[in-house]
């Protein structure tokens, strides 16, 4: 049995199937890429895994347990963390307090929660901003705060939704380094990324979707050479 598995999931918004019979498996320790053009259903898949939306069909399994149907906070307690593409900082709290609030999930005493939060903030390179109010952070740091808050819940699997979007080349390098560091610390990663360079260079395997359906699945080289993927990303002309 796979570490994490999505089985035939379907999600309708009105008449439109935003996610249509998507299946994939992720092995423990992998960085797994999820790619597709804008509006193809990537964030919706995260929202389904996370329990924010209810599935219309299908199942989601994690570590041998069926997690579809659980509430969002229960899924987090099972060990799946996530970040939001549109960041959701706890605006009027400091960076440290944001992360302490998360750390309380596994550390019930204030002192332990704070120690773990500080370690997580350091891991994410946010120590400099520790005492800043979250709403005052620049965008690159807000994205890091999303990651820090998620890591503070001690996930076994983390879902990263476009954490590299809107970053400059230097910040991008740092973001890639951080994602690798997360994987090296023993956390499995599913990453949604628009920037092909990022996803191709760090993913162990990739699933490509379009219009809510899987086009292909495989290693980065396999996926990159798939004509359907090229078509979806670069249009018909590119192939000629």
């Amino acid at each position: 049995m796979a570490f994490f598995e999505v089985r035939d999931i379907v999600k309708y918004f009105g008449g439109l199937a935003a996610v249509n019979r998507v299946s994939f498996e992720v092995q423990e320790g992998q960085i797994y890429g999820l790619i597709g053009p804008n509006g193809s259903g990537k964030t919706t898949i995260f929202n389904l895994i996370n329990g924010y939306f209810h599935l219309n069909k299908g199942q989601i399994w994690f570590q041998g347990e069926k997690i579809s149907g659980l509430k969002t906070h229960q899924i987090c307690q099972r060990g799946i963390g996530r970040t939001f593409q549109v960041v959701k900082p706890l605006k009027r709290m400091t960076v440290l307090d944001n992360v302490i609030a998360s750390a309380f999930l596994r550390h019930h005493s204030r002192a332990e929660a704070q120690a773990w939060a500080e370690a997580t903030i350091h891991f994410c390179g946010l120590t400099h901003f520790k005492d800043k109010v979250a709403k005052s952070l620049p965008i690159a740091s807000r994205k890091r705060l999303e990651i820090a808050r998620s890591l503070a819940t001690r996930p076994k699997l983390i879902l990263l939704d476009e954490t590299a979007a809107g970053l400059n080349p230097h910040e991008l390098e740092e973001a890639i380094a951080l994602i690798k560091k997360i994987r090296d610390s023993g956390i499995t990663v599913i990453i949604v990324e628009h920037i092909m360079k990022v996803i191709m260079s760090i993913s162990d395997r990739i699933v490509a979707i379009n219009h809510g359906m899987v086009i292909t699945e495989g290693t980065p080289t396999e996926v990159a050479s798939n004509p359907e993927v090229i078509k979806a990303y670069f249009g018909e002309d590119y192939r000629a």
Partner: protein
Amino acid sequence: MKRPSGPLLLLVFLLIFPLIFREGYYQHLMILVLMWVAIGSGWNLISGYTGQVLFGAAAFFGVGAYTAALLSSKLELSAWWGLPLGGLLSVAIAFPFGWICFRLRGPYFALATLALNEIFRHIATIWESLTDGMIGILVMQTFISKVPYYYVALATAILSIVGVDYVIRSRWGYYFVSIREDQDAAESMGIDTLYYKMVSLCLSAFLIGITGALYTNYMGFIDPKVVFSLHDISIMAILVGIVGGVGTIYGPTVGAFIMVAVQEIFRTGGFGLLNAIGKATGWPFMTTVTKYISEAHVLSFGLLVIVVILFLPNGIVGDWGIIKKIFVRSKKPAV
């Protein structure tokens, strides 16, 4: 040596207050202030810290008040038992109420608490065999002097401030504020938002319920119009909460002092000033003006809310920096 802090000085002042001010009138006003500190702190926990606006604080205040009164009138027990029991009964109502209403987001909770307020007022009015309806319930007061009530009120106020402060620094407090800041983020951080909103509401209901029971003991008389009053209790609670500063520990204290003063100024027509002007100048219309002004306090409460929201959105405690700046600037003009 460390400079004594503001709250500590205030505490010392409040501890010796009845020894300095022996007149019943001032003691009465301060008892009201202290009760409002407790109610305001309760309101602040669910609304200021957890972000769920409680529009019907009087529901819990009245339940506490009636618990105390009924213990005395029906069971011939001491109305003082109403403090713990009234607090617990308020919790017993808040729990299922929260369980139902917190599933909905947006203004539903606020509106539902308004409805709860009105439902209890009507029950207390209609169920005459139990409550004597509009006639109200008379309770024998334990003390003639106001001083014992003063110290019970002070203890309740201190309990509420220390209690809220303790909760807010704990895991619960972090969860409450996270829910206020972003409920989706909180859920994805593993926080059971429904459960923790209920916890917050129950703590609030407890503090407000206790204070209701204290009110019965102190005043010796309650009726549905007074203890389930929408403007004198529910809206006043919101004002106490926001004037001093939403989501600050000492906001409700500052708010309570200001709002009890404002209420008293309106009730007495500027401490009789308007009447005096009327008499001194011989203008008969001053009496009419006085009457309208005392009756217009609900309206002026509304105006006050608008002024506070426009100019001090974080209240006096929350916007202390802004207020200080205004004064500093006016003292030494920019060069």
